[in-house]
């Protein structure tokens, strides 16, 4: 049965829907690191907030799904700008300090959420609860939608970074802030934009994740854990690297899980990343320094 | 003069780029050997290959008759082959004196055990190396700034300090990558005098630089690299009047100046 192509197709889709969410988290994480040298240990918590935003907008206030999925990220990212002013700006260009300080922020966010929303898991009703049968492969529609939305977001993000003025400015600031300033780029503003975009992506990921899985104050831990691996694996600061890293990790986990079971999958996927690092110590698509 | 360093058909490719391509040359004992060539010609790569920082794609490096190809830098230093870098040349965060102590690993470090228990052997080695540090600092005119943080030194003094660090290992051959880049003419003259002093101690020198006044006055022989290969080779005055070298590297106006 395991060699049955329809099953394989199914695993691919399931693996991809999870990977695509991780990729969104990883992209924002890598953006913050790439541009401001900030290790955002609170990134998963913004995804958590995205999950709760979606919960309220869609499950509680019953907004149309499209409106909810568009508004939820904004509902997180706009207020988050206040946190940028209050907390993040102290940690720009300070790698270690940002790591610990933002770990503190992550703790504050998780336990405030716990006080507010309690520990139990909430469900966001599926917007697309059907199953699509395609050439014998059973595809849950919500998974396909997740992949689709993530792909759109990834595409939009790629377009923003590569084909727009603001993206150009962000990339320049990522390489050398001081010189970016001397080329006429308002780097403070660029930082704020990058922060906004990163949080937007995390919150969108959280909204999707919350709908496919469930919403709770602790839901951000796992995506951050995976994003951390994915981002370094892909080559820190590289967009295609993060995408590729996310896919690889998702696939190895789902394939190995299917064929060899859960614990082999964990050992093997970590072992594979370790080997990759030993033989390519600068990540998948990163450049040797 | 017997050959100290022999480089034989050395190549290094980066992907499709042949940074150094089938390069051969020898440096004799007591010689000051210059390498010039356009930017990207492969000069730094050649020095990296010889000093073990980069592994060659093919070819051989022989030092005092021993094959040292592909050995790591710290081994080569033990053989007597030291070098400075084009950019990072000093430990910026500590004093000049400390920089030199760090440079004197071979003479100074008695091993973990002796150093941990500060045995008499460790004490002797430390004293010997401290006096050598003092000697070298005096010799290179750095003793007055010995307690200054290296990063706070003027650029020219940093370059000299870079040489001092390398000299702490008592090398037989010292390779200098752009020792006078960014120095004024007067400072460059100082560095030239220093290098001559180094040679007078019996240390051979390989030097790369784009400052032609400096190179012409210093080198016994000059090798011109272009696209990783030898373009010309010989006495400075011959090389610098070679039309190929003028065309590729010096520029026509150089001839007039």
């Amino acid at each position: 049965m395991l060699t049955n192509p329809t099953i394989l197709g199914q695993i691919v889709v399931n693996g991809m829907s999870l990977s695509s969410i991780y990729i969104l988290v990883a992209l924002g994480f890598t953006l913050l690191f790439g541009i401001m040298r900030v290790v955002n240990f609170a990134h998963g918590e913004f995804a958590m907030l995205g999950g709760f935003a979606m919960y309220y907008l869609y499950a509680v206030f019953s907004l149309p799904w499209v409106a909810a999925i568009l508004l939820a990220p904004l509902a997180v990212a706009i207020p988050a700008l206040f946190l940028e002013w209050l907390v993040f700006r102290w940690f720009y260009q300070k790698m270690f300090q940002s790591m610990i300080g933002l770990l503190g922020l992550s703790i504050v966010m998780i336990y405030s959420a716990l006080l507010t929303w309690d520990a139990f898991e909430r469900n966001i009703p599926a917007a697309f609860d059907g199953i699509l049968r395609f050439a014998g492969v059973i595809l849950p529609i919500d998974r396909l939608v997740t992949i689709g939305v993530s792909a759109l977001a990834l595409g939009a993000f790629y377009f923003l970074m590569v084909h727009t003025r603001i993206g150009l400015a962000m990339r320049a600031a990522a390489q050398d802030v001081e010189i970016a300033g001397t080329q006429g780029i308002d780097t403070r503003k660029i930082y704020r934009v990058a922060f906004f975009v990163a949080i937007l992506l995390a919150a969108l990921a959280g909204a999707l994740y919350g709908q496919v899985y469930a919403v709770s104050p602790f839901m951000g831990e796992r995506p951050l854990f995976v994003a951390f691996i994915v981002v370094i694996l892909g080559g820190m600061g590289s967009i295609p690297g993060a995408a590729l890293g996310g896919l690889i990790l998702g696939f190895t986990e789902s394939f190995l899980g299917t064929f060899y079971g859960g614990s082999v999958a964990s050992y093997a996927s970590f072992g594979a990343v370790i080997l990759l690092l030993i033989f390519r110590p600068w990540g998948l698509l990163g450049k040797p320094e | 003069m017997s050959p100290l360093l022999e480089v034989h058909k050395l190549s290094r490719f980066f992907g499709g780029l042949r940074a150094v391509n089938d390069l051969s040359f020898t440096v004799s004992s007591g010689e000051i050997f210059g390498i010039i060539g356009p930017n990207g010609a492969g000069k730094s790569t050649a020095v990296n290959l010889v000093s073990g920082v980069t592994k060659p794609t093919s070819g051989k490096v022989r030092f005092q008759g021993t094959d040292v190809t592909g050995q790591p830098p710290h081994k080569l230093v033990q053989y007597g082959l030291a070098r400075t870098f084009q950019s990072t040349t000093v430990f910026g965060n500590c004093t000049v004196e400390e920089n030199c102590r760090r440079g004197s690993y071979l003479a100074r470090y008695p091993g973990f055990f002796h150093s941990f228990f500060s045995t008499s052997k460790a004490g002797e080695m430390r004293q010997a190396s401290d006096s050598r540090v003092a000697e070298v600092l005096e010799w290179l005119d750095l003793h007055r700034v010995r307690n200054v943080r290296a990063a706070d030194l003027p650029y020219g003094a940093q370059k000299t300090l870079g040489m001092a660090i390398s000299l702490m290992a008592w090398p037989k051959l010292l390779m200098l990558d752009e020792p006078v880049a960014g120095l004024s003419a007067a400072e460059a003259d100082n560095v030239r005098d220093t290098i001559r002093k180094i040679r007078a101690e019996g240390i051979s020198v390989v030097v790369i630089d784009h400052n032609m006044r400096f190179m012409a006055g210093l080198c016994d022989r000059i090798l011109v690299l272009h696209h990783g290969q030898e373009l010309a080779h010989g006495l400075p005055q011959d090389v610098l009047s070679d039309p190929n070298v003028i065309e590729a590297y010096l520029g026509r106006r150089y001839v007039k100046a």
Binding site: Q175, E178, T187, R188 | P38, N39, E187
Partner: protein, 236 residues
């Protein structure tokens, strides 16, 4: 009124003096060579103008208006272009993208025309337009740093040691291009240089800086004849 004027500018790094009480004037379509040995304060002066030095003292006027308190990006928008010490091109971006960043501060649609103008000065950049800037040779990177600054169409251009680490033939080429640009665009240039012989050969005026202070100033040709300068900076 001078194009750019520095009045008693001082920059310090903790206890270390970058420059002090440094004054100079730059007229329209003029090149001033800022000559001095290592650590004399040339780069510090240019950084102070660009708003990169923390808490400078004194005043800096562009066409009579103070630009001292402005952040770097506004200074660029006010018309000052900067090619920093050590080139500092955006190594991970293509040559073309570097030039686009240079044009960032400019609004309006003449990007194409400006690009062609820079490619005209440095045809090599056109050949390498899609190459990663980090993989260019040193000379090419220097051309790119200059081209990038020109993309903003500055009226004042600050260059910090453009000859550093470059082959003689490239240095010569850069000198030619700078003069060509100045003729064509009435650009005012400050050229901070170690390579005094070269800098004095292309400048109109020269300022000698020592230990953060101006010690001599005058027409470049006269300065080049001064015996002290010849000894200290020209190696004659």
């Amino acid at each position: 009124m001078s194009k750019l004027e520095l009045r008693n500018v001082g920059v310090r790094y903790g206890n270390i003096v970058g420059t002090q009480e440094l004054s100079l004037r730059l007229e329209s379509a003029q090149t001033v060579a800022l000559v001095g040995s290592n650590g004399a304060g040339k780069s510090s002066t240019l950084k102070a103008i660009m708003g990169l030095a923390k808490y400078p003292v004194g005043d800096i006027l562009l066409a009579g208006k103070s630009i001292k308190q402005m952040p770097a990006f506004e200074i660029v928008r006010a018309g000052i272009g900067y090619s920093p010490e050590g080139r500092r091109v955006f190594g991970g971006m293509s040559v073309l993208e570097n030039l686009k960043v240079g044009a960032y501060s400019r609004k309006g649609g003449e990007f194409e025309a400006d690009l062609q103008r820079v490619f005209g000065y440095f045809p090599r950049l056109k050949e390498r337009a899609s190459q990663r800037a980090g993989s260019l040779s040193g000379g090419e990177q220097q051309m790119l740093a200059i081209g990038r600054a020109l993309m903003a169409r500055p009226s004042v251009f600050l260059l910090d040691e453009p000859s550093l680490g470059l082959a003689p033939v490239i240095v010569e080429r850069i000198g030619d291009v700078l003069q060509e640009i100045q003729r064509a665009e009435q650009l005012s240039i400050i050229l901070a240089e170690q390579n005094a012989a070269w800098a004095l050969s292309i400048a109109d005026q020269a300022v000698i800086v020592e230990l953060g202070r101006v010690t001599m100033t005058g027409p470049a040709a006269e300065i080049a004849e001064d015996p002290r300068v010849q000894r200290a900076y020209l190696g004659i």
